[in-house]
Symmetry: C2
Subunit: 191 residues, 2 copies
Amino acid sequence: MFEQLIKSIQDKVPATEQELQLCKHYFTPKKIRRKQFLLQEGDVCNRMAFVEKGSLYSYSTDAKGNQRVIQFAFEGWWISDLYSFFTKEPSSLNIEALEDSELLLLDHEQHEYLLKNVPQYETYTRMILQNAYVALQRRIEGTIGLTAEEKYSRFLNQYPTCLNRVPQHLIASYLGITPETLSRIRKQMAR
Amino acid sequence: MFEQLIKSIQDKVPATEQELQLCKHYFTPKKIRRKQFLLQEGDVCNRMAFVEKGSLYSYSTDAKGNQRVIQFAFEGWWISDLYSFFTKEPSSLNIEALEDSELLLLDHEQHEYLLKNVPQYETYTRMILQNAYVALQRRIEGTIGLTAEEKYSRFLNQYPTCLNRVPQHLIASYLGITPETLSRIRKQMAR
DNA sequence: AAATTCTCTTGACAAATGTCAACGCATCAA
DNA sequence: TTGATGCGTTGACATTTGTCAAGAGAATTT
């Protein structure tokens, strides 16, 4: 149940067995089924989720009722609405399971406790944030001023495994194009 | 010379006078003139810059030679290429001064030193990263699936002071639209 | 198994945005 | 002062992408 998390931590900081046990103790395992929500728009996001197994995605809904996919999360990734988590203001995001999934949850108090009592945890958190920040910046570079086809190519390069696990219309939304356009691009690229 | 930095730190963590002095000691002040580069594509980014006064922006250059503006930075903001800074790989970004500016620089060693020896500094860094991450996520929400006019309106709301200090074509690039389109949108919005 | 959703595709057309070229008006340097 | 350069605007037109509507097949539910 904790393999992915342990791997993620050891990958980034040297942690003692004791520290790992402490972490294990403070995370709450949770199973969630496909199409269930981890977070719904309007609620305060009071936890971060680490994905042990399965996949989820987050999205917001715009004025016209369109979904805008913000993030996908697979095994070994974190997902949350950090804005709401840190400010405790209601979230504008939904987080929904794409597949039946196993999560490790950490609420605000547990997070604060680990920050205070496990020095390696703050470092781990900082490194996760660094990586997440860099990934977002790359995403922006891969969104701005590119054609739909270029965006899709870059996406394929960066997340080749996504294709099999994520419905195409969600990828389209993630890229900021319509499902029809994506369908046509794929047809065109097939040559 | 350190007002903005002190303000930024005190805003986020309780710091003693001694800790502040230590920070001051490890930052390197630097003046940079309009149009000078803090970082050039191909070089490794070995420092983070805090803006005490003035403004800068970062951009990458795409295959067709177009600038893509990644970030603006004004007084009280940080700017760097964190990807290059952390991995020590050559950067794909340029960072250039928009106005004559005063910066406080921190290289990799100085950063590591402060992380190790000033506990509050790691917390400060984490909070800066959190905020930067949230800001990037909002930017993505404000980029995907919006019309050019909506993007510009959101930009104006979020950074109203930018207008006077940043050339219009850089704002266009930041929004991922052409200068001509931005010009037309402004004309249309003027009514 | 039948019915109901989902998901993806396709076509015809509309709307948004980009491209290219020209021009005016500042600013700056010689 | 005189060029030269950078920035913003405008027009005509091309291209890309979105919208709407229909349908086919797969997956899910009853």
